[in-house]
């Protein structure tokens, strides 16, 4: 892509960001934030970072967007419109000066660093040993697998943290139903959900598989799964699970635990997270599949929020 395209894209990113931040109405702000996230995805494409582009659009724009919309709706139901209220002029001026100065400093620092893909040269020769092609996956699940392992537990921990907010008497229970209140709307969304959920599963599975060699991976795939689950949940295709369902808990911890177990099993081969020669790809794919499932369920429940009192299952067929 040409430089002009990049430049316009960057300006649009800044524009959407500014609107998302400063527009009065919260819904508009979130809408522009989602647009901003999608443009960010394009920017990552512009940087030839397709893995990140997928993650940014799916997680940064998609999941975060849904999250914010849901939060805004729940606030609105309580009479809080989450409009941006102005702060004192003096504060704004001071902040403006400080932030402008900071940006100049930061930009100067950024410009003083020549862009280069220094570590690509380190990564490339190591890839054949792993048997996979996607270097980002290689970094995520081999060279820096330790980060990823801890991160999978951060995600799990975030869900536990969200659950810890459950109000008195709601535990163990289901999150507030994110579904449509209006029955016909619910039917429409439900039909879509029924259609989308299997497709999302297939697509997510493909993304994981492709992630070894092509852009994709557990996180992107998990997001797709979460999206499918959420849409299905909104339409009532599936009921939201109670937080104490053993099956649910198992699904949540499966990925991180398998990852941890494989990591520890590596000790037999020489140390934490060491993959025995030849087994690397198999192990990575195993980790990715279990992780993707857990991430999908975790993200969906993160969006749904803590268990709430009286959140009964409108469609008691249980969760798939």
């Amino acid at each position: 892509m040409t430089f002009a395209f990049d430049l316009i894209l960057c300006l649009m990113i800044l524009g959407t960001a500014a609107i998302a931040l400063f527009v009065r109405d919260a819904l508009a702000a979130i809408a522009f934030f989602i647009a901003f996230g999608n443009l960010m995805g394009l920017a990552w494409l512009g940087l030839d970072a397709v893995n990140v582009a997928l993650a940014e659009i799916a997680i940064g724009a998609g999941v975060t967007g849904v999250l914010l919309i849901l939060a805004r709706a729940r606030l609105l139901a309580l009479g809080d419109a989450a409009t941006s209220t102005g702060s004192p002029l003096l504060l704004r001026l001071g902040a403006l000066a400080a932030c402008a100065g900071f940006v100049v400093l930061l930009a100067a620092a950024v410009l003083s660093i020549p862009p280069e893909s220094g570590l690509d040269r380190v990564v490339a020769p190591l890839m054949p040993g792993l048997g996979i092609e996607n270097r980002v996956t290689g970094v995520l699940l081999a060279f820096r697998a330790y980060d990823t392992l801890l991160e999978s537990f951060v995600l799990l921990g975030a869900l536990v943290a969200v659950w810890s907010l459950a109000p008195a008497g709601a535990w163990p229970g289901r999150p507030a139903d994110p579904g449509m209140a209006d029955a016909p709307m619910r039917r429409v969304a439900g039909t879509f959900g029924q259609l989308l959920l299997p497709v999302a599963l297939v697509m997510a599975a493909y993304l994981v598989w492709a992630g070894s060699d092509l852009p994709g991976g557990a996180f992107q795939a998990g997001t797709v799964l979460a999206g499918g689950l959420l849409v299905a949940g909104m339409g009532g295709t599936i009921g939201l699970p109670s937080s104490d369902q053993p099956l649910l808990r198992a699904a949540l911890v499966l990925g991180p635990v398998v990852f941890l177990a494989i990591g520890l099993a590596g000790v037999a081969a020489g140390g934490l997270l060491v993959y025995p020669a030849g087994l690397a790809k198999a192990l990575i794919v195993t980790i990715e599949y279990t992780l993707f499932l857990s991430i999908g369920v975790t993200l969906a429940l993160l969006v749904a929020g803590p268990p709430m009192p009286g959140a009964s299952d409108p469609d008691p067929e249980g969760k798939g």
Binding site: Y146, V154, G157, A161, L165, G169, P172, L272
Partner: protein, 490 residues
Amino acid sequence: MSPLDLLMAAPLGFMAAALMLGPSGRWLILLAAPLMAGLALWLALLPPDAAYLVGQWDLPLGILLRADGVARLMILATALVIGAVGLHALAEPPEKPGHAAQAETFWPLVYLMWAGANAGFLTTDLFNLYVTLEMVSLAAVALAAMGSLAAALRYFMIALLGSLAYLLGVALTVARYDTVDVILLAQVAEADLATLLALGLMTAGLLIKAALFPMHGWLPPAHAAAPAPASALLSAIAVKLGFVILVRLWFEAFAAVTGPAALHVLGGLGAAAVIYGSIQAMRQDRLKPLVAYSTVAQVGYLFLAFPLVAGTVEPSGAWAGMTLHGVAHMLAKAAMFLAAGLMLKAVAGDRIADLGGLAQAMPLTVTAFGLAVVSLMGLPPSGGFTAKFLLLSAAIEQGAFLYAGVLVIGGLLAAVYLFRALSACFAPLAGAGPDTASRGPVTGGVQAVAPLALAGLAIVMGFAGTALVDVSAIEAPWATPTVIQPEAAP
């Protein structure tokens, strides 16, 4: 197997297990506490050059885990603190109904914090530190939210800002040096704009996490409002990881870049924190805010030590003083929060004036509180004394009389506010006439054991000074070069 990985893996395993077991997951602490203490002890006794690369991937790409003196001491103290706090929480009588969610989720969060803290103390990788920092912060905010949602939200927002500042610094470092490993950075770091900005950003972010004055604003409300076990963990563990990362940055990765002026800024902030925190603590009428402000003051000492460590040719004394202060504060402050929790529960109030008669009613708990007071004030024999003694020696040796003065005055101010709380326990029961016996023993002694053990350990530290100083010097950045000397990026 090595304790370096098990110390991270075991708590994560317990976290998953606690989630699977649901309400009965609380019993896991009976297994976890001794196991983790054993692992931490094993780590402390490893040969000095204990370190390895995760997955055998070499630097600059891979992640190095290293058991240096700071990590050994911090992890041991963490194991003791979380173990004791966990057992204390296990003995907690069933909470008010309706708090079942908190009672159950408390445990996975504690294990997450445990894993994050251990992993963070061990790693030398700045990005890996970011992830562990988030593990600890996430758990910390969630634990704080069990007390006051508003305070936790404030904590959350400011901690998020801190995380981002740190992350931005890491981003600049990656871009500039193509590595985020502390040991490699120590070899290549130069004092250019990007590096200085990166260091400044990371420092600012971590100072928020470590709650150094004037970035401490979130701490007192959050720590004071949380339930006692949560407060104990917040004050003991959560602020320490930020401090340890700062040590890694300032004395190792960017030791060549940092100038004395910058170190004195940190030292000055530390000194200001000591004075400010103490004065604020003196002004509190309620017990838990007093203890929380004492944390603000005590964190100050950690940073007051920075210029002292840098100021000598042979910094083992100041270095040990800094490290041991962190450890002693962990033990004593956790003990103090647990004891304070028991005391406040017994009197069903939260003011210092409510504490009258407790010295008779719950002597063990008050003793624990008193021992914690001794260590926090830096009176001998205690870990707090050993640390402050080393720092004061270093300050006087260097002629840093300002810091020496702050160390001395800080101890006196601590005496003023801590003894105020302690002597309130000796006062007769407020408004209840001469019959002090009416306030019978309130809780079973079981729960008092945890603060008593922790405070006792803080005291015992005072007798093991030489051994602790030796441990703190293991693989210290100023000592002989580290054993692992990976090649720099091609």
